[in-house]
Symmetry: C2
Subunit: 157 residues, 2 copies
DNA sequence: GGAAGTCAGTTGCATTGGCAACCAAATTAT
DNA sequence: ATAATTTGGTTGCCAATGCAACTGACTTCC
């Protein structure tokens, strides 16, 4: 790599110290590191994994519920659900109360996948906790929480 | 939203408490919140903004340097550089030492844009610091740093 | 009861992104 | 020297996004 020049003047902006950048960087590194579990092993998208996780955890909810919980966009969720159904991981059923809404639930295979990935995720989280130390990890969660609420917990869907 | 069912058994995985998810969530919220500055105001991509920031800060470096600094992928950087050049924000010049490499530098307009956006970024960062409190902010940076180094500071390019 | 608005979910389209193949210059090995 | 490898950078292709438009179902309000 060529040598870096020196900054010109006074209070200069430094991307590498920019919190949004650092946050994104960290999220990406950590995210990619877990990606292997659902992507390499199951060929799943991150959104698909999230949908699976949510439907696995709380059965019988709708796509909108997922949007709200995962703060995902409806089109993404829609496609993820379609893909998961395609793969026989979950099934939809039109809600008797509201014929627009579809109640989602995992198939046996989906449930099994959820179990495996859920365990992997728990282990992954535990590993992070182990390395940071429990109190640091709590602190981190707290700080991230505060950070998020700062900019308004704005929804997206 | 329909009511959530109850989890089935023992140590169940909960996406909303999953650190990678939380991290990503936070990064996205914060990131989008700053996006307005470069996207709405200048129609720039995040990668373009990053490239501009780096070239603005350290002039006369190459695309590979940017990849290393921003941990971005070379194709992304390549396209961002092309777009910025297209818009007259920066210029390339073949390195005399290595005819493959291109030395990048900002045009007057690019420099001005960098100045404006850099100031906005500094202000943004300061605002976050103000809300978290200075010691919490330092702590956060430290924790994120540790988190990143944990999973190996693996490069991507 | 019907028009107007809202809500669940889907789809089309134009960008974006990742990945691998690729070209040309540089370096290393034989 | 020249073949083989590595490196800087670009490009093609396909999957994934983002956003807005759209369909059909529900609600509201007159």
């Amino acid at each position: 790599m060529t040598e870096r020049g020196t900054p010109e003047t006074g209070a200069e902006f430094d991307l590498e110290a920019f919190l949004p950048f650092i946050l994104n960087q960290t999220a990406e590194v950590i995210g990619k590191s877990f990606q292997a579990h659902y992507r390499a092993a199951y060929g799943m998208t991150r959104t698909q994994w999230r949908v699976l996780a949510i439907v696995g955890r709380y059965g019988g909810l709708t796509a909108s519920d997922i949007c709200a919980i995962a703060h995902e966009e409806k089109s993404r969720v829609s496609r993820a659900v379609a893909a998961l159904e395609e793969r026989g991981m979950l099934s939809r059923e039109i809600s008797p109360e509201d014929k627009r809404a579809e109640i989602l639930s995992l198939s046996a295979e989906g449930a099994e996948t959820y179990r495996v990935l859920g365990q992997a995720a728990l282990a992954f989280d535990q590993a992070l906790r182990d390395r940071l130390g429990p109190e640091a990890e709590t602190q981190l969660r707290d700080l991230l929480q505060r950070l998020r609420s700062v900019t308004g917990g704005a929804e997206k869907g």
